[in-house]
């Protein structure tokens, strides 16, 4: 797997607000898509589309917004990132490798017997994973615990939890939301990847979650809405996160499209899980690569 470390990753400790242009972010997001396609090929099945909707956000977090140290993954002051929608971990692994958390070639046995890397992220096996996930709905609670720990330890790390829009069906998310507001956790951010789909189809048809903004506000959170495929919009929102000593937790509601970036998956009802045979994989890769070469980004807009 090729490594394309941007210049800002040469020092071991990575600060918040690293240089990443809108164009660089678009490129990186498509790189995440490409790597996801590659890894799914090893396993024979995977969640392409759940990564595609949040690829720009992944890239913005790992290449700009999060304070990290690839050589010291347990660094107590690192920002935490939790992936409530753990089935999108396949998009995170390549970034961690690229940033130097572990060698690229570790990924070669993705999903094989005894591999560290499965469909869901495993904190005990993978350097750089801050908590395991897989059961949708748990991670925001875990994030509350981390943000609370920061307060108790007087540390200024930030905790960011990305969850799906279907994940909003889970009651534990609302327990966590309520407690985060009660504990004044301005150092906690939730990013809702509002890609409009869950597993059985569209969220609005299966179990509607609208109005999402009103829900988070009613639970005591500040809400920012962004176009999750527009690089500038994503960068701005993450740059504008409140100081970690502030007291209102932030919800970034990212309007996205499940499968965005590969036309035949874009908002398709059937692509929560799947596999691309050679021909279709080539098509998908060509579509992604063309954008990377042209320096363009996935069309924005949520519909």
């Amino acid at each position: 797997m090729s490594s394309t470390s941007p210049p800002e990753t040469t020092s071991s400790r990575l600060d918040r607000g690293r240089v990443l242009t809108a164009q660089g972010l678009a490129w990186r997001a498509d790189w995440v898509r490409l790597k996801t396609v590659e890894l799914v090929e090893i396993a024979g099945s995977g969640h392409y589309s759940s990564v595609f909707s949040c690829a720009e956000i992944f890239a913005a977090l790992y290449y700009r917004a999060l304070r990290l140290d690839p050589k010291d993954p347990q660094w107590a002051d690192r920002d935490r990132f939790l992936l409530g929608k753990g089935h999108a971990a396949i998009g995170v692994y390549p970034m961690l490798a690229d940033l130097g958390f572990f060698p690229d070639d570790w990924l070669a046995d993705y999903a094989r017997v005894g591999s560290r890397f499965g469909d869901h992220p495993d904190m005990r096996k993978i350097p750089g994973i801050d908590f395991s996930s897989g059961s949708i709905g748990h991670n925001l609670s875990v994030g509350v615990g981390m943000a609370l720990a920061a307060r108790k330890q007087c540390r200024d790390f930030r905790t960011v939890v990305m969850i799906g829009d279907g994940e909003l069906n889970e009651g534990q998310v609302w327990e966590a939301a309520m407690s985060a507001a009660a504990f004044d956790l301005g150092n906690l951010t939730v990013i809702v990847d509002e890609n409009q789909m869950c597993l059985d189809g569209s969220v609005s048809a299966v179990m509607p979650v609208e109005p999402i903004v009103d829900k988070w506000r009613a639970f005591g959170w500040a809400v920012t809405e962004i176009d999750g495929h527009d690089p500038s919009s994503v960068i701005e929102a993450l740059d504008a996160l409140p100081a970690t000593d502030s007291s209102v937790p932030t919800c970034v509601l990212a309007h996205t499209r499940k499968g965005a970036g590969v036309s035949f998956m874009d908002l398709s009802l059937h692509w929560h899980l799947g596999y691309l045979g050679e021909v279709d994989r080539a098509d998908a890769e060509a579509e992604i690569t063309a954008r990377m070469e042209a320096g363009t980004s996935v069309p924005g807009g949520s519909r």
Binding site: G114, D119, N169, L199, D200, A205, L269, L273, G274, G277
Partner: protein
């Protein structure tokens, strides 16, 4: 709800598949179809799922009885208690989700809202054991037998293939209390040619033998049958019992195996603490007698990840692995 449109738009490679086109891969998930048939004859059957209709093929039911199908979204606990409400009004709801979420996440709802008040809800916990392979521990369920067996008033059954799934669904539809159906990943090869005549609380005799009894459940049955074949070639005749019913439990079947065969090996893709092996151990220990006995399964650890078939081999749940344990037991 799965809106149906062209399932393969834009695809050109025949090897490509997506959620919709992968449904036939889950060929032993016949419950949607079977329940749809049953619902043709009675109007109390409903099917509920938690955003997994396409994963567990309950959409086979949905297509035929859309008015009696409910998708609750990703909210398994709500689904369980909603089913209790439906049952209290006379429905017989079948709720379906991964075994890990059915039995672990909803343990309290099953105990408190279904079992104690004896609601006729049937919980289909699919992808049990380690059948989720590389999805990892969050999706494995090697604790569900222990949990459900400890819940009083709950019937627990475990089909080993498509035919026994049909048989058990039919056999338990009128159970007065709730039922937990421990199901595999939908790719179980046939053990039975046609739905077997099952008998409440009885093991199913799959193969006769006197040298050893293997009592297996779920995916373990497939391996046990294979192992029996391997051992037969060595002159060891193995009785294979399919523990289709985990509760009520076949005490007589265990006692007979003790007295009629040379030992008992239990096989399960479940923690040996609290699973099928423990149920058998209870009977052996309280009988006051003794026999050669070993619990084969997951030895109180979390499974590695990997493709399910590879994992079964790794944990010795394939024919060769089971045969090895059988030989060791007989040699001990």
């Amino acid at each position: 709800m799965t809106e149906t449109t062209d399932p393969r738009p834009g695809l050109r490679d025949a090897r490509s598949w997506n959620m919709e086109t992968s449904l036939p891969l889950m060929y032993s998930f016949v419950h949607g179809e079977e329940l749809a048939d049953m619902a043709d004859d009675r109007d109390d059957i409903m099917v509920l799922t938690a955003d997994l209709a396409t994963s567990n093929r309950t959409n086979d039911f949905q297509h035929r009885h859309p008015d009696r199908f409910v998708d609750l979204g990703i909210a398994e606990q709500n689904m369980t208690s909603v089913a209790a409400g439906l049952a209290s009004a006379g429905f017989v709801p079948y709720i379906s989700t991964f075994a890990s979420f059915a039995a672990l996440m909803c343990a309290e709802q099953i105990r408190t809202d279904l079992a104690y008040p004896q609601m006729k809800v049937r919980v289909l916990g699919h992808h049990s054991g380690i059948s989720f392979g590389f999805y990892g521990t969050s999706h494995h369920a090697t604790e569900d037998i222990a949990i459900t067996r400890a819940i009083a008033g709950l019937t627990v059954v475990a089909p080993s293939d498509a035919a026994s799934t049909r048989a058990l669904l039919r056999a338990t539809v009128d159970e007065p209390g709730p039922v937990y159906v421990r199901m595999g990943r939908g790719r179980e090869k046939p053990i039975y040619d046609s739905p077997p005549e099952v008998s409440r609380g009885r093991f199913q005799l799959v193969r006769e033998g006197v040298d050893l009894t293997i009592i297996a459940t779920g995916i373990g049955v497939q391996g046990a049958v294979g192992a029996a074949g391997l051992l037969a070639a060595e002159g060891i005749e193995v009785r294979v019992l399919d523990a289709l019913w985990l509760k009520p439990f076949d005490v007589d079947g265990v006692l007979a195996a003790m007295s009629e065969t040379g030992g008992i090996l239990t096989v399960e893709d479940h923690n040996v603490m609290g699973g099928l092996g423990s149920a058998v151990a209870e009977v052996i220990a309280e009988s006051g007698g003794s026999t050669r006995f070993r619990r084969h399964g997951i030895q109180d650890e979390y499974a590695l990840i990997g493709p399910p078939t590879h994992l079964w081999r790794h944990y010795g749940l394939d024919p060769a692995g089971i045969a090895t344990r059988a030989r060791a037991l007989l040699g001990s």
